[in-house]
């Protein structure tokens, strides 16, 4: 088992602190249109260092912070933490559990943490690469993007393989 849990607070529609436990095997997520399912997928991409705002359906950094609703004020910060199970040692760190945290403020600043200590984005990307789940675009397939895997022209399809190679 690799992911243990995902914790969100102030990220898009997850204004309240929310914890998603991720057991091994297949975890299903269901719910009505607009309830926040794809926001969970954005949170997973984001906490792992996603730099393209377009990939998380945003135009500016603050778009990920809960923007308020009927009778509820906007928040000032978004935070997502992912907890990885490292008992098998697939991540080259001396911990049996590794957490990665990302925060964003209305100022546009981002902060990153690994096991609670402040790090730079470069450290998160480096950790991912050393653990073998680098920039792989096939670990999160967003809504409506299934066709994108195929519809590229033959030269573009190559990029998918170079990542995997």
């Amino acid at each position: 088992m690799n992911l243990r849990k995902l914790e969100l607070s102030g990220f898009k529609t997850f204004a309240r602190r929310t914890e998603v436990l991720l057991p091994g095997g297949v975890t299903g997520i269901v719910g009505p249109n607009g309830s926040g399912k794809s926001n969970l997928s954005d949170a997973l991409r984001w906490v792992l260092g996603e730099q393209s705002l377009q990939h998380i359906r945003s135009k500016k950094t603050e778009d990920v912070i809960y923007a308020g609703g009927a009778n509820r004020a906007p928040l000032g910060m978004a935070e997502v933490t992912i907890t990885l199970d490292n008992t098998s040692g697939w991540i080259p760190l001396d911990f049996s559990e590794v957490t990665i945290t990302r925060r964003a403020y209305r100022s546009g600043d981002n902060e990153y943490f690994i096991n609670g200590s402040r790090v730079r984005l470069r450290d998160v990307i480096d950790l991912r690469n050393r653990a073998g789940f680098g920039q792989s675009s096939y670990s999160v397939i967003g809504q409506g993007l299934v066709d994108a895997v195929l519809s590229q022209r033959p030269e573009e399809r190559r990029a998918l393989f170079e990542e995997a190679a």
Partner: protein, 165 residues
């Protein structure tokens, strides 16, 4: 390097054939380099032959057939180059009931090595999930998460608990 790329390509191509057969329940798929002389820049072409039909390019397929081919390719890459986890957001939206079942069968076969998170509206897909979460939206535009089904090893605890209640 060239050799690595070719090795990955060969492995993915043969896994692609295998998953295409599982997902379509027959037929065949061909994946080849458009320009094998110059491996560094060659594109990748795909021809598919659903059962009973002729071999054709991807653009001639139906919406659901394209989603199935994309699924088979994704599973082939995951099988050739496993990643620790994979999130799929409504990749089953265009599929009919029989195809969803075969798609889920292929997914389940990879769930030993890769942890899956699957967002879906489809009952068949919900049925194969080990754990299931429901996301709902409150009056204030805030998402709430509810556990609908616990994973097997936790289930006996809660089932016991509710039996004693």
């Amino acid at each position: 390097t060239k050799k690595q790329f070719l090795d990955t390509f060969e492995t993915v191509a043969s896994e692609f054939e295998r998953f295409f057969g599982i997902i379509f329940g027959g037929g065949q798929v061909q994946m080849f380099l458009t320009d094998p002389e110059s491996i560094n820049t060659s594109g990748i072409e795909i021809l598919a032959q659903p059962p009973g039909k002729r071999l054709q390019s991807l653009s001639a397929l139906s919406g659901g057939e394209r989603a199935l081919v994309a699924g088979a390719l994704l599973f082939a890459i995951l099988s050739a180059k496993p990643v620790p986890f994979c999130l799929l957001d409504e990749v089953d939206a265009a599929l009919d009931e029989a195809n969803v079942k075969r798609f889920c069968q292929a997914l389940k076969s990879l769930a030993q090595q890769t942890q899956f998170v699957v967002i879906t509206h489809n009952r068949e897909t919900m049925a194969i999930a080990d754990a299931l979460y429901g996301v709902s939206m409150g009056q204030d535009g805030v998402s709430k998460l509810v556990s609908l089904r616990l994973p097997r090893e936790d289930r006996s605890d809660s089932a016991e608990a509710s039996a004693q209640a």
